[in-house]
Amino acid sequence: MKAAPFAYAKPRALAEALDLAARPDAKILAGGQSLIPSLNMRLSSPALLVDINALGELKGISLERGVVRIGALATHAEIEKSQIIQEHLPLFAAAVRHIAHPAIRNRGTIGGSLALADPAAEYPACVLAMEGVIFARSSAGQRQIRASDFFKGLFETDLKPGELLAAVEITAQLKDERSAFLELARRQGDYATVGLAAFATNGTKRLAYFGAADRPVLAQNAAKAKDLDSAKAALAKDLQPPADLYHSSATKLHLAQVLLERAWNTL
């Protein structure tokens, strides 16, 4: 399976990248771990690939005034190794170990993952659980998008044509806050059958499920429930998971309830 032909550009400056990315038949190449398979399988044939890996301002993981800022080009491997993530975003530290395999983690980026918005991916749910803010750059300037406004549908985000996901900021987890990350998959590294990124702060819970809808979804009713049994019952109102190749909708809901039960005491 060889990709169809395309032109390639590797801009050295953000302004140039934004210009090129705004072209109608262009696609952004970050880690390539999702884009290149789709090119090889001819599921997608853009005329131009804009390689953004030379843009230094999109790299790096930093902590400033209690907010962790992760550049779009931070690889899963960098996130896995980051002291800042380990200490201040344990939810992300737990999630990254489920992403694919070491060779893919060396190239895949958080920006790519968030922009693709695969419903079974880990980061979108983590960002949603912790109310992260996505920073989008365009030639018009910068725009901040809250996680709850960002994921709009199946592989669909709020990014407009000409916008590039530049970074995501998440408030560092505090000592009295709790997080839990659970994922069920058939094999290590597979896309989740169903997963839960949960965050509890100040008595409220944010239960972000992935693999349970066309996008990461907060189980609002379950989060408000007073005890586990009513939470599990409420989950049936929150989630109508689509069946996948191997699991019926009922099974997915059941598994979501199992995850809730397993996360409950941590939260």
């Binding site: 060889k2 399988m41 290590q188 699991h247 099974t251 199992v258």
Partner: protein
């Protein structure tokens, strides 16, 4: 009598086995470790062209029109061809065999003409300077289709309201009935009758290396050389010759390194035949490598069955009779030349195999569908037969409250009952079921596992232990294919040549796909001749070089190819001693060959280095008696003659733990005790078993080719079709009993498929054993979390 003449299994004598029985690392693995192998796709040729295929998007459709105008203009394109164009260079085939009574299938062309019968069937070919350019042009082919109703469901196919090939009358490719008589009486008088229907998901080989072929036609001499990742180069030589109209000896098939095969690469594929035809047509080398997506659509699938089984037994647990009704859907064509009827035929032959009941009735229907074609894949019908046998046996044991191991002990054919004819007609030379059972139970510490299981159940931890007893077909005689009219050789040959420097070259017609064929041949040759292994080089996979033979299939490499090597080795040593006797002016009977030298047979004193023997024999024959000619190259052949199939036996066990909330199965450990006769290299045998077991685990837990009602393959990629990966696999403990076959000097039976034959049954029984306190049972594999949760009633 010297050691040279005795069979290795001769009782009561000290036969020097040399390297036989030692775990020698494979010499030919060294280059693979450095990435210096030569797989077919690695080869470079001048003017090499590449072919990509335009494949039907429909399961069943008439090809109304194919427009190549845009494709022809695409950069790098050499030509675009439809089925009619290729048919002028390649004749069609019909995959039937005379001994499968009544089997029928329509003719199949290299590229479909007029009608596509499965999604993925090749309907046109583009040849270009590169694969990328060929694929670009394939995307520019315009086609008009008239969709036809597709037959997908096996029951609907059998009912035949829609017949795929109207000229055949119905959708039945092959059917068979077998009845010993007395079955109804046995069921009537039984204290217990158990009945269950088992489902087996269609799955496929997923070889890491895609199918690969590079055909190089030489117009100057009307000859064809094909570099082909195939298990059976001589079979392919015959087929290319007959279907492309090139004299047999002008066709040479060369098999370089093969990246896994497991039966997938022993069949005739239309796209590969088309590639060879295109080389002839275009008078230049043409290469085709199946990429992963087209592999899922066009590599043979296998093992989709629905089988209803009944077992009758006494209340003491003595099995009286088995009854089987097996339905299996294949593709729209029987696959050439081995036919797609063999798998079902094996299921009929092998069901109930390890047990001593006398009554058996079976019914088989093999039906056409518009899904991908199916054919023999590692262990062929065994995984089905073993699973359904062992599952119903466990069910009966459970109903009687008997321990499954003891139930089996009561019914396994006694170790002293041989030779033995089984109710399906198959004949066993000598098996060792009871020794095997005893060894397995000891190896796994069965008693302790049961105690642990009971204790853990009290804590709501659900572990299961599953056993699977099995018999396996190996070393087939012409009974498998030859008798049916197939030009598939059941004999093999080995040529051994002593080189002037005292090295040994072995050329054998059995092939290597990584199982260690070349390694064991080196061990056998070195032992038989009397040289050290570092002096031996082995050549396989070249019809221009090796003797004529069958290649690799049905676990025959060691038993048949190995025997030919042994016989040739002993004969060569005899000839070498003739030369040595002439040189040394001694009596041949006083001499032997050991450690690269001719030695005094009694004192072991070295008399003549083999390098010196070689020098004289080849360069100074003038110093030898005038009427003496050195013959330092010897060829011998071997065919198993006494038994149609040399059966082996084994038993496997699986230990699992089930999470009843998620339906997920954790494989804690696996055991296999196997009797494959003389073990030439214990490490290689164990590794064949391990690899086979994991392949069987794939079938039990993960692998299924999922089709929708329209015949569209839904999961034809590596992300959606699940194969076993490292983290989920257990450690596998292997042990052996050795009951050599007396049909050969070597005494080796086969083992390559044993792991795959028994693993699904063992895992199924373990899962059901784990579920039994929860009153749940599963019968359709793969045993996905979905199926387990449904059985548990956790999900409606």
């Amino acid at each position: 009598m010297g050691r040279a003449e005795l069979p290795l299994h001769a009782p009561g004598t000290q036969v020097d086995r040399g390297y036989i029985g030692q775990s020698v690392p494979r010499p030919n693995a060294q280059r693979l470790l450095q990435g210096r192998g030569a797989y077919t796709d690695d080869l470079r040729f001048p003017r090499l062209a590449h072919v990509a295929f335009f494949r039907s998007p429909h399961a069943h459709a008439k090809i109304r029109k194919l427009d190549f105008k845009a494709a022809l203009k695409s950069p790098g394109v050499i030509g675009v061809f439809d089925g009619r164009a290729v048919a002028e260079y390649c004749t069609p085939w019909v995959a039937v065999l005379a001994h499968l009574k009544g089997i029928k299938s329509p003719p199949q062309h290299a590229i479909a003409i007029e009608r596509a019968c499965w999604q993925g069937e090749a309907c046109a070919a583009v040849v270009a300077e590169s694969r990328s350019q060929a694929e670009d042009a394939v995307g520019l082919i315009e086609a008009e289709w008239e969709e036809l109703p597709a037959v997908i469901d096996m029951d609907e196919s059998l009912a035949g309201k829609i017949v795929i090939h109207p000229e055949l009358g119905d959708n039945i490719c092959f059917k068979r009935e077998h009845d010993t008589g007395g079955v109804d009486e046995a069921f009537a008088k039984a204290d217990l009758v158990v009945e269950e229907t088992y489902g087996f998901g269609r799955h496929t080989g997923v070889c890491n290396e895609g199918r690969a072929i590079l055909a190089d036609y030489n117009a100057g001499e009307h000859s064809l050389t094909v570099y082909h990742a195939t298990q059976a180069p001589h079979m392919m030589q015959d087929i290319f010759s007959r279907h492309l109209g090139i004299p047999e000896a002008s066709v040479r098939v060369i098999t370089k390194d093969v990246g896994g095969s497991y039966g997938i690469k022993v069949h005739v594929y239309p796209d590969e035949m088309a590639t060879a035809a295109l080389s002839v047509m275009l008078r230049r080398p043409v290469k085709f490598v199946a990429d992963r997506l087209e592999s899922f659509l066009s590599d043979i699938h296998a093992r989709e069955h629905k089988a209803k089984v009944r077992l009758a037994c006494t209340k003491e647990g003595e099995i009286l009779a088995f009854e089987l009704d097996d339905l299996t859907p294949i593709g729209p064509y029987s696959v050439y030349p081995r036919t797609s009827g063999i798998e079902g035929n094996q299921v009929v032959n092998l069901t109930g195999g390890p047990y001593k009941h006398q009554k058996y009735r079976a019914k088989l229907n093999v039906v056409f569908t518009n899904k991908n074609v199916t054919c023999q894949y590692r262990a062929v019908g065994h995984p089905i037969a073993v699973t359904l046998t062992e599952a119903i046996v466990d069910l009966a044991a459970a109903k009687l409250g008997m321990d499954p191991a003891e139930f089996r002990r009561k019914n396994l054919i006694p170790d002293d009952a041989y030779p033995y004819t089984f109710p399906s007609g198959i004949k066993f030379e000598k098996l060792s079921h009871h020794q095997t059972l005893d060894k397995l139970l000891a190896l796994m510490d069965y008693k302790k596992l049961r105690e642990e299981q009971a204790a853990l159940r009290k804590r709501k931890v659900y572990r299961g232990i599953g056993l699977a007893a099995m018999i396996e077909v190996t070393n087939p005689s012409p009974a498998f294919y030859g008798v049916g009219g197939a030009r598939i050789s059941a004999q093999d040959g080995a040529t051994l040549r002593l080189e002037p420097t005292g090295m040994l070259t072995v050329m054998c017609s059995v092939t290597e796909q990584g199982q260690g064929t070349e390694g064991i041949f080196a061990q056998i040759a070195a032992s038989a001749v009397g040289v050290s292994m570092d002096k031996v080089r082995v050549i396989t996979g070249d019809t221009g070089v090796t003797p004529y033979g069958g290649g690799t299939w049905a676990s025959r490499g060691a038993g048949i190819g190995g025997e030919a090597v042994l016989l040739a080795g002993r004969a060569l040593r005899s000839n070498m001693l003739d030369v040595a006797a002439a040189i040394l002016k001694m009596d041949k009977a006083e001499l032997d060959v050991k450690n690269n030298a001719v030695v005094h047979a009694l004192t072991q004193e070295a008399k003549l280095p083999l390098a010196e023997l070689g020098r004289v024999g080849y360069f100074r024959p003038d110093t030898l008696p005038a009427d003496f000619q050195a013959e330092l190259t010897v060829t011998r052949h071997y065919t198993p003659r006494q038994y149609g199939f040399t059966f082996t036996n084994g038993m496997q066990a699986s230990l699992v733990e089930i999470d009843p909330d998620t339906g997920m199965v954790k494989l804690l450990k696996h055991w296999c005790v196997e009797d494959c006769g003389t073990v030439i290299n214990p490490m290689l045998v164990d590794e064949q078993i391990r690899g086979g077991v994991v392949q069987g685990i794939g079938a039990a837990l993960y692998e299924e080719c999922l089709y929708d009602a329209n015949g569209q393959l839904l999961n034809g990629n590596m992300a959606d079709y699940l194969v076993p990966m490292a983290l989920e696999m257990p450690d596998i403990v292997c042990a052996h009993i050795e009951t050599p076959t007396r049909q050969s000097q070597l005494g080796a039976k086969g083992v390559g498929e044993a792991g795959t034959a028994g693993a699904p049954g063992a895992v199924m029984n373990a899962i059901n054993d784990a579920l039994s306190p929860l009153k749940a049972r599963v019968t359709s594999m793969p045993f996905t979390p979905e199926r387990i949760l449904r059985a548990l009633g956790k999900v409606a």
